[in-house]
């Protein structure tokens, strides 16, 4: 029998994959596993070193964020590497008008340097209202009252998300979508459209353990609850339409080292982007 060799596992994806890699490294015995993380769209200047890591890995845990064939380092993955996928968690229902769901605010984006990540959560409806109602107070009032022509009903967005999450469960064979749909009204399961709480990421980690046939205890949710540093307030109208119990107008949300409310957040957006 040859010398014992640790299994090298690479995690590839977004910030969720990074949190999962750290939690995996904490939970799995270091004598058995070596892990690393790389962002899916790895920066050009880091591709050589990332490619060297990828070339050494036995198992590649790919977040289901884009097609594997679109992975910039696809050619660096050895044929012998086992490729497993895990879900990318996102949930549009509480934030139906956010740019991440496709309703783009191009003028606001043009004001920011993307490399600075000044505001990562743009609002497509506020972008449209900017053209219709140049006066900031009138725009705030229309948005608050949900008085915007052709504004999509949050219930329709939630119906879309329900279908998508049911399909996600079928595809991955476990009930993460069901957990989201059953619990989002009672608990703040997401901090933004693509920042899930620790308990959801803990379920993903269990899924990864199972995929690797590892019998390890579930990681405490607190160990994976890293993404709440940025939180986007839920529109009170959306909260009411979807019966989201924890998101009322007085709710305070963390925003870096500060706290904000829905009104403060929207007024700051209007002030910043004109």
């Amino acid at each position: 029998m040859g010398p014992h060799r640790r299994l090298t596992i690479g995690f590839v994806g977004n910030c969720q994959a990074e949190v999962l890699q750290r939690a995996f490294a904490k939970a799995a015995p270091a004598s058995e596993f070596m892990t690393f993380y790389h962002f899916f769209d790895v920066a050009q200047e880091r591709r050589a070193s990332a490619g060297a890591d990828i070339a050494k890995c036995d198992v590649l845990m790919m977040q289901d964020i884009q097609d594997l064939e679109a992975y910039p380092l696809r050619d660096a993955v050895p044929a012998s590497t086992k490729i497993l996928t895990f879900p990318f968690l996102r949930f549009a229902s509480p934030w139906p008008y956010h740019d991440f769901n496709g309703l783009r605010d191009s003028a606001a984006r043009a004001k920011d340097d993307p490399s600075l990540h000044t505001t990562t959560y743009y609002d497509g409806v506020l972008g449209r209202l900017r053209r219709q109602l140049p006066e900031p107070e009138a725009r705030f009032a229309a948005y608050k009252a949900h008085n915007v022509p052709s504004m999509i009903d949050p219930v329709r967005v939630h119906d879309f998300e329900t279908r998508r999450l049911q399909a996600l469960d079928e595809r991955f064979g476990f009930a993460i979508g069901r957990v989201i749909l059953d619990g989002f009204r009672r608990d703040q399961l997401f901090y933004t459209v693509n920042r899930p709480c620790g308990s959801l990421l803990s379920l993903i980690l269990d899924h990864i353990f199972a995929a690797l046939e590892l019998k390890l205890p579930s990681a405490p949710s607190e160990d994976l609850d890293e993404l709440g540093t940025i939180q986007v307030p839920v529109h009170p109208f959306v909260a009411e339409r979807l019966s989201i119990e924890w998101a009322d107008e007085a709710r305070r949300y963390r925003n870096g080292d500060q706290e904000t409310t829905w009104e403060k957040f929207v007024r700051a957006y209007i002030a910043r982007y004109g």
Binding site: I65, Q66, D67, A70, F88, R90, A92, P96, D99, F100, N101, G102, L103, R104, D105, S106, A107, G124, G127, R128, I152, R156, V157, F160, E161, R163, R164, Q166, A167
Partner: protein, 83 residues
């Protein structure tokens, strides 16, 4: 409805949702050819297509959309529009 008419409506919807009047869709365009588009960011586009064409798309069909030609084909099949 002809393929050209579907493409014209689809172009208008992409322009509106992506807030970019300069978008000119071609059937051969894939997600990465369309400025500001991303396969994960389809919610509003799908809902607008459903409204405009009076159809409902299934999640698996949505996941399979890779190009403008795929959108056109799915719309035609779902709406029963003539080619």
């Amino acid at each position: 409805m002809t393929q050209a008419e579907i493409l014209a409506i689809l172009t208008d919807l992409f322009r509106e949702i992506l807030d970019n009047p300069l978008i000119e869709l071609k059937p051969t365009d894939t997600d990465s050819d369309i400025p500001g588009f991303d396969s994960a960011k389809k919610v509003h586009l799908v809902l607008s297509v459903e409204d405009r064409f009076g159809i409902q798309l299934r999640s698996r069909e949505i996941d399979g959309l890779r190009s403008v030609a795929d959108w056109m084909h799915l719309i035609r099949v779902r709406s029963g529009a003539a080619a």
